[in-house]
Symmetry: C2
Subunit: 270 residues, 2 copies
Amino acid sequence: MPRGRSVLAHLRESRPSLLHAVDPFKVPLPEVVAKATALHELGFPGVLLASTDWDNFEDVVGRCVEEIHRAAPDFPVLLHFPPRAGVGLPCVNAADGMLCPFLLRSTDPYFVWRSYVETVRRFGEVQPQPELIDLAALTFGTDERSRSVLAVEPVVPSESSADQLLHVMQILDLHGAYLYSRYEAVPLEICRRFRAKMSRDQVLFVSGGVRTAEQANAFFDVGADFVVFCGALECHDWRERLQVLVEGSRVAQRPPSLRTHERSRSAGYA
Amino acid sequence: MPRGRSVLAHLRESRPSLLHAVDPFKVPLPEVVAKATALHELGFPGVLLASTDWDNFEDVVGRCVEEIHRAAPDFPVLLHFPPRAGVGLPCVNAADGMLCPFLLRSTDPYFVWRSYVETVRRFGEVQPQPELIDLAALTFGTDERSRSVLAVEPVVPSESSADQLLHVMQILDLHGAYLYSRYEAVPLEICRRFRAKMSRDQVLFVSGGVRTAEQANAFFDVGADFVVFCGALECHDWRERLQVLVEGSRVAQRPPSLRTHERSRSAGYA
């Protein structure tokens, strides 16, 4: 991604695409960097660093971002971590973007939106900051972990409840939605409805339990912009698995060398 | 109000009550101060400084707040002004509170909530700041002025549209609602529905076109916590008119000397 470019604009132009989220609190630093480099070479639009747990954030994540940028300059690094009261969203300024979760189904307004305000208050007017990408973050299926950490209730998978959430997303003019299921799967029909009702400018992420290209393809078929896999690469043969996922995906990743020539094609989406 | 006390808690305990909004860009400073002093003596819980227009904000409003505080120490001064892009909500730190409008019916997300984020970003972590009181701000009746300045559409006065807005208020956990009609009147049934569906902790302001005690009483009867009058005192005989309004109101204002003894009665509300 050229320097100075908006990460959100870059994501819009890069869709549809697979994405990989690495947990820097689980995966050793050299492996994080090797994975980011591999993703870059395969034409992924960026790498997510993500975890429900975090500690000693600036040291761990700061080093990750620095090392990834050294190995793959201009490859966007996006942070995706839950906020904590008193801190807000954890952040390192060298990151290119932050996916900011608006947990519209949390019973605690801190996680709905006040954490975002706390984050921005702590930033003040200091620059540079990572670009903030504001996403309705919605979970599907029983998830005691999200409930205990973020007071989140899963979405009732019905049209009317989806529509209510979409209405809130429109009022707040969020940049997109991140649909997630920790132990089950995001319902395809819900994904389809979100894509149908969201504006073209809004980006739709789907995540949770994706381990095969077939699963990813099913989400692409109903309109997901980004299908995120995480644990699927937490193994020794991650290079082979990544290759299988990319080759089986109906969505062609675009290696960086082809990006410029193919931009017109991807721009046709928006 | 004792120093260090939360303005919101003070408002909750002071309801129901009349309130007066003075426009410091229209009313000369000595009259603003005289009015604030009169309101204080009559037992009002505070004074609003409010205007759709503003300019040279810090000088004009800063002096008002300073002079009111000198004349009536500990009498809360609340700011209520629309934000402007690049500035956020205009603010002077000496003010006790700010009514922050979340214009849920604006088609411009800046006025829905992003202006609030901009305001807080500009604050950074600097203290003291006025207490922020987050209110769903909703307009009723044709209002070209609000449309042109704030891209606001009036509320469709139906139960279902009220309920949709109440749903958003609950998700965001706003501190209350400010219902306003510039040229007509807030529908009584809408006011009743908001009070019925809002939590006890949330405060309900009604404003616009209130010139008589009968009008105010009608709003109190359907559950308004605060009935705000503005233009009703923009005249030379404002002292007499204020007296008539207070005497005709079914809600007894509580002079400061009685406050302590009567607190138990008012606290019974919440």
